[in-house]
Subunit: 429 residues, 2 copies
């Protein structure tokens, strides 16, 4: 074993960074044995240097992240600060100055992964980011490597723990969205500003990363259709239950039937209770991968948190260090298929639509005609009358999303339709 240590710079020392530093110290011998050389924490860039950081030598702390990545003796930079800048410039600067990079930065990878990949390749460095998607769950490596000889057709999963906690709470207790969000915040599952989670931005970034890797093409955050869960009501949840379903915020990446394009989307959807994703509780994550030869695989585990994310970061650290010692690099960007990303209207899915309608003869016929005119076939209709008003719950067969949303628009214009109470897609069947 080489005795000269590999030098690691840590950018960011919050929940994840401090756990990475702790494990690097407490498990130093194991890491050295697995890598073939010791690893040494050579510097830690933070915003608040005065904060006491247990177990970290104060001499390693700096506020000058740029100077740290430019030192020239750093073998690996671990970036856990998040956000677009200064993270992007720090990572590309690290590549220029001889370091490989392990990152947990989903936002940056989804926004501008191509720039990072290109810089890594130009300088012959590694860019690893298992921690960017679904915390400790191995997903990037299985998709990039284990399934490299297969053809992935679909990735479908729960990739945001906060929203799964909220929906699980709504489902199990009958609570409304606000109430469930309050509980998630109180328990530390939701941040003070929950926008990134509840509006689906976090899940959309992960969907972009997964779709790009799964289909060997470039998918950016802007390519991902996105709906959050703030509009999901207790009534939707109850309606899902009546159908033998529950509601989950799903990230869905699909290859089109003709194989010539891909789609990526994040939205709430009803899935049958018999589907394995329906039983993913609390803040857990789970992802299905469907591949031509492998069939259907599922990966399940804690999708966030300091320790699980640190586990993913350290797994990448070991790989990157081994590559350094072998003077090799791992897999880089694979975007050779150049498959375009189609808009949401092209996605083929099913709708569950609740309508408030006038309780008089002929309404159902009128509504059914609108579906037929848009080429949307109806699977089931449930009609309930109450005091001159009635509700119609329609579940469609599979149709392009554009046809489905066109149907809803036309329904809204019918005199006999008083309102569209809810629209939700149905998946996992």
């Amino acid at each position: 074993m080489r005795t000269r240590p590999l030098k690691v710079a840590l950018l960011g020392c919050g929940v994840v960074g401090s756990e990475v530093a702790r494990i690097m110290t407490t498990h130093a011998d194991d890491l050295a044995a697995r890598i073939g050389a010791p690893v040494e924490l050579a510097g830690v860039a933070v915003r608040r240097p005065s904060k006491v950081r247990e177990g970290i030598d104060p001499a390693l702390i700096t506020t000058d992240a740029t100077a740290l990545v430019k030192r020239g003796d750093i073998d690996v930079v671990i970036e856990v600060i998040g956000g677009i800048e200064p993270a992007r410039t720090l990572i590309t600067t690290a590549f220029e100055h001889g370091a490989s990079v392990v990152s947990a930065n989903k936002a940056l990878l989804a926004e501008d992964g191509a720039t990072l990949y290109a810089a890594a390749e130009q300088h012959g460095r590694d860019l690893y980011f298992e921690a960017a998607v679904a915390g400790a769950i191995p997903l990037i490596r299985p998709l990039r490597e284990s399934l490299a000889g297969d053809k992935v057709n679909r990735v479908l999963g729960i990739v945001n723990g906060t929203t799964n906690f909220i929906l699980d709470k709504m489902d199990s207790s009958g609570a409304g969205y606000s109430e469930a969000l309050d509980e998630a915040t109180a328990l530390g599952y939701a941040e003070a500003d929950p926008t990134a989670d509840v509006e689906g931005f976090d899940a959309a970034a992960k969907a972009a990363i997964l779709a790009g890797i799964a289909f060997h093409t470039r998918v950016r955050l802007d390519d991902v259709y996105r709906e959050g869960l703030t509009e999901v009501t207790a009534a939707d949840m109850a309606s899902a239950r009546r159908m033998g379903c529950t509601v989950k915020l799903l990230a869905i990446c699909e290859r089109a039937a003709d194989g010539q394009s891909v789609t990526a989307r994040v939205h709430p959807a009803m899935i049958p209770l018999s589907h394995p994703l329906a039983s993913v509780r609390e803040a857990y994550n789970a992802v299905f991968v469907e591949a031509e030869a492998a069939g259907q695989l599922m990966f399940y585990g804690p999708g966030a948190g300091g320790s699980p994310t640190a586990s993913a970061v350290l797994g990448d650290l070991v790989a990157v260090c081994r590559n350094k010692l072998a003077e090799a690099t791992g897999p880089g960007e694979s975007a050779y298929t150049q498959l375009p990303v189609s808009p949401m209207g092209d996605v083929v899915t099913r709708y569950h639509i609740s309508l408030d309608v006038a309780d008089k003869p002929g309404v159902l016929a009128q509504v059914a005609t609108v579906f037929a005119e848009h080429g949307v076939s109806i699977d089931t209709v449930r009609q309930q009358g109450k005091d001159g008003e009635a509700s119609l719950v329609v579940v469609t067969h599979r149709a392009p999303d554009a046809a489905l949303s066109g149907t809803v628009e036309a329904l809204r214009k019918l005199d006999t339709v008083r309102g569209v109470a809810s629209i939700m897609r149905v998946e996992g069947e």
Copy 2:
């Protein structure tokens, strides 16, 4: 991209081998793009050369596997013949003659993995074997690489599809073992001679491989405690149901509480219906991995079959070919902890014991005394009387297996105990 192809020799052209050859042809462009060079099937060694093999150039077929691996121009040997010899000699010969190896041979890896690893290292070649455990489910790579920065404490799973099919059938239909085995055979889930599956040899080989990788030590097939499922009765299954459990054949690899040894075992066990493994149906596989930082991860998918196994083989082929082009090798054997494997008696577990006893006062006190004398604490007792006879069902708290089996031995000697109707371990709580 390099235009000169990498040459692949295929040893074995059965269910898996023919599927590997088929995908290599139909997906040649994708494989080339992902590897960075085309791959070419340069020879196929078979036992029956006269058999028609669709899509394979007859000129590539040979019965002389030794000559094929000795050719000197082969970059990668794919070994899917199984068994100890001639597979072992062919693999080590391949390493000597410049090839890296992708193998699906669980029996050989569990029996003598160390010899293969040593030969690979001596000649600077790769040895990859994702397909040896749980078919298409990425497990070896996540354990060897994704969790390389973590400390795995436990691996627990269903790793044999045939036995899971049989137990699932017994559970859902109330069928006995023989009847369920007949159905598995009729549907092609069990082989004509089902010994390797039903006696647990196949699962034990996988447990040895998983334990070795998870704990960075050497674990051989002989180190794995093994009980098959041929003794599991419809009555056991019914008894499990009454406890809110089902019966699964589990492979369990554990680090001892003091961290100084490991255990590996395969046996039928009761697990609660609420445990995710309880809902693994038919011939599917699923494996839980518990690691210090990552927490609890689960991997699920088809555990066998031509296509899923071929997916795993081809993922390894891509990795090994990339390494060849980079003149590097992937991770080799990691057995630095040298943790010993403890015998079954040291495993801490729980027992579910059904006793036929005389229906008279004092029997329960007598039985309870035997448990106490062996230091085994009782969790629950259920007593049922019928016509002068009675049955006692005892579920214990956790205790060393030696103490539990000592208790059972002593119970058999009691005059008031007419017989021990069944003993089963209880896991997953």
